[in-house]
Symmetry: C2
Subunit: 143 residues, 2 copies
Amino acid sequence: MNSLRTGEVAQKLGLSAQTLYFYERIGLIPSPQRSPSGYRLFGDRDVARLSFILRVKALGLSLDEIKEILLLYDGESLTCQAIRDRLQHKVQELDQKIHRLQALRNELAPLVKECQSFLSQPSPDGECSALRDITGIGGNQDA
Amino acid sequence: MNSLRTGEVAQKLGLSAQTLYFYERIGLIPSPQRSPSGYRLFGDRDVARLSFILRVKALGLSLDEIKEILLLYDGESLTCQAIRDRLQHKVQELDQKIHRLQALRNELAPLVKECQSFLSQPSPDGECSALRDITGIGGNQDA
DNA sequence: CTACACCCTATACTTCGGTATAGGGTCAAG
DNA sequence: CTTGACCCTATACCGAAGTATAGGGTGTAG
Ligand SMILES: [Zn+2]
Ligand SMILES: [Zn+2]
Ligand SMILES: [Zn+2]
Ligand SMILES: [Zn+2]
């Protein structure tokens, strides 16, 4: 029975009003009721749905993935299995992303070390090997 | 003395011509010489610069970060220290990103496990606790 | 009545690293 | 001379998740 206006919901959930419009536009939430003058009135269910969205978003799911889950929910076919499949898929994606980033990190880190040791103990030829490795050119040079 | 046309450079480096135009537009590479009829003619230095860009991009630096380095290079102030600072900064950013993703992963994984064990051995009340945790609502429900 | 806070819609803009398209020019072979 | 491969510019578009702005309506307090 209690209904909140856009600004109140935004305040409560830490969103902007624009974000609420946006979620409505992309079909993540249904268009809420309106007051006679056209103001949105969000009921408890609307707010609960938004809370769910934010909770799951914080777990790292994209709005599209959340929308998929909510479609199942709306169709009353949101099962344990469906959730499990999606979360598992997401975990795998996260693992892949983590591995890729670690691979990059492990290529970058040695170069830093190399530069570091060169800075503390320059070799006689005056050129850091990491700098040379990266540029593939050597230090500065013209034409 | 040998100069390549756009398509040849693109072919050689595994880029599209559009990408070359794009790099030129954003100032990553200088506008190369032109033939009398207006065709781009990339010299050895141009190709070397592009190779550098691709090499460093493969290390995970953004085009903006690469541009910064190239500006130093163009100003002949590309030092070991400058490179080291940038790479170190990047490594730190990668570390942060990795940690964030791992935190997400570690929040998600237990939920998958919970659903998994519920699927193999449903509890009497017919509701998976992970499903309840996530939705904050329980299974399906209306108004 | 008027100021002000709040609300509405529609549209454009943001970042990033390009890709796609439209509409035209150049050049060598046949 | 025409065909076809190549080149040019300018512009729009992609995904993701919004943010910003313009231009207007509503509701209440003084
Ligand atoms: Zn996926
Ligand atoms: Zn160095
Ligand atoms: Zn940074
Ligand atoms: Zn479950």
